[in-house]
Amino acid sequence: MKTIAVIGLGNRGGVYCSYFKTDEKVKIVSVLDVSADALKEAREKYGVEEKNLFSDEEEFFKEKRADVALIATLDRLHYRQTMKALSLGYDVILEKPVSPSYEECKKIADAAKAAGKKVIVCHNLRYTPFYMTMKILLSEGAIGDVVSFEQAENVGFGHYMCSFVRGKWKSSEETSPIILQKCCHDLDIIYWMIGKKCVKLSSFGSLGFYRAEHAPENAAVKCVDCVYKDCPYNAKYFYLKSPESLCVPYGFDKSEENIVKYLSDDDNPYGKCVFKSDNDVSDRQTVNMLFEGGITATLLMHGFANATHRITKIYGTKGVMYGSLEKGVITVETYDGKKYEKDVNKSIKGVSHSGGDERLSRDVAEYLDGGRKAIGISFVEDSVYSHKLAFSAEESKLTGKEIYPGDNL
């Protein structure tokens, strides 16, 4: 059994801990979080002893508190905390993105190598039954070698406005650009499936819609004060219909009265008009790539779907396979006329990220405890390369130039 110290018990930290709690291969023994609510959660839900709860980072890092550090703070803290954890000899489970700075990503990979420690990056899409089955089908030669890859990340407007207009990832400077923040998963899937390096890429994108000039006349800054009560983006209208989409602290009572009070708070970004927020990340972006061996791949991301759905289509030398992650059905058509479907819905356990979070938690716990290495496990070196595609895409989007990511990290 391995012991785990959690650094950042927020939304993501909580998801993994909920699975670790019932896994005999790991035990949560210590938590560092600056929020009193998070430490309360650690005490109440995970039974962490008072003496092992920390709100002070310096105090926490004075000594090694467990075998493994789960780092699930926001993006800009990853580098500092991972480097400290590695220097104390922890193996690390690190939320993506590794860091919003490519130089820092590389330094983490180097430090992990130098320390002889594992840094496993939480690319939960790899662990979904959908993508895992696609990977297995590819390795079994179901469609031959990859020829071309089409990936679409159609982000639901509700999710987009919650996370990327009002929420934690609305600003590239505060966290990271959306092509890294959200699409590092898609770029990782593309790189993982193709298994070759990218020769060149181009990216277009912009923030086109969620801007001040699209605000209806006389729209208020705070939705609770707005005359457009049934605007689809109105925070009160939307979150009362979909309270599960609202980002709130541990133990928040989601009664109607409380939600309205929460959204009325002047300092709460979730109550703001989507056209009057201080967001700057793109609401649409494409990445058009050429990989070694003449393999082409593209990604389209935008925030205008009814609900979030990813669509993947891979052409191979012997056939094509395609499907939607959320529907959970993969269709394979071979060029000699065979057609069949794989329905992966039965293997989905746990609701979050199409079963990816549960499987990631189980597979990582098993591996760190000395067990089998599941095919999805992604070490920092691999993630740094797929992150490099995201950094290159952002550079291309901003400069208008074609970028040559090359072989090296």
């Binding site: 020829v147 071309s148 649409r284 082409t296 593209t298 389209l300 779907a305 289509k313 052409y315």
Partner: protein, 132 residues
């Protein structure tokens, strides 16, 4: 009856659609010539009702022609046109994403599927023949 492109452009103009933001095409074609690629670029421009601001073409020839054109239109609409000439039947599927709805249409089909940008919106079928 309307042809495919008339139908698609008309669909993006009706009230429920709002403003079009992104166009996605996935097509398998018999032969992937420059002419064919340009034909699809013109179709996307007709749907976007705009001129191209930026365009990037990325194609390979082996073992069959495949690749994509990405386009940024002057009115801000972004488009990805994925094209291949795999030994499979020809098929072209358009997905249009606007502020009011998302629409899927397979060329030569009789109807489009539409979901409004509302929580739990059902999928509705819109038939070409009923559409004016």
């Amino acid at each position: 009856m309307m042809n495919d492109m008339e139908f698609l452009t008309a669909l993006t103009r009706v009230g429920f659609s709002g403003e079009l933001q992104a166009i996605d095409l996935s097509a398998n074609v018999g032969e992937l010539s420059d002419e064919k690629i340009n034909e699809y670029v013109m179709k996307a421009a007709a749907i976007a009702r705009s001129e191209t601001d930026k365009i990037y073409r990325n194609f390979s020839a082996s073992p069959f022609a495949h690749g994509a054109v990405t386009l940024f239109f002057k009115n801000g609409i972004l488009s990805r046109l994925s094209l291949s000439a795999a030994p499979l039947p020809e098929k072209a599927v358009w997905r249009l994403f606007s502020t009011g709805a998302e629409i899927i249409f397979t060329e030569n089909g009789d109807f489009a599927e539409m979901k409004k940008a509302e929580l739990d919106a059902p999928t509705e079928k819109i038939y070409k023949k009923d559409f004016k």
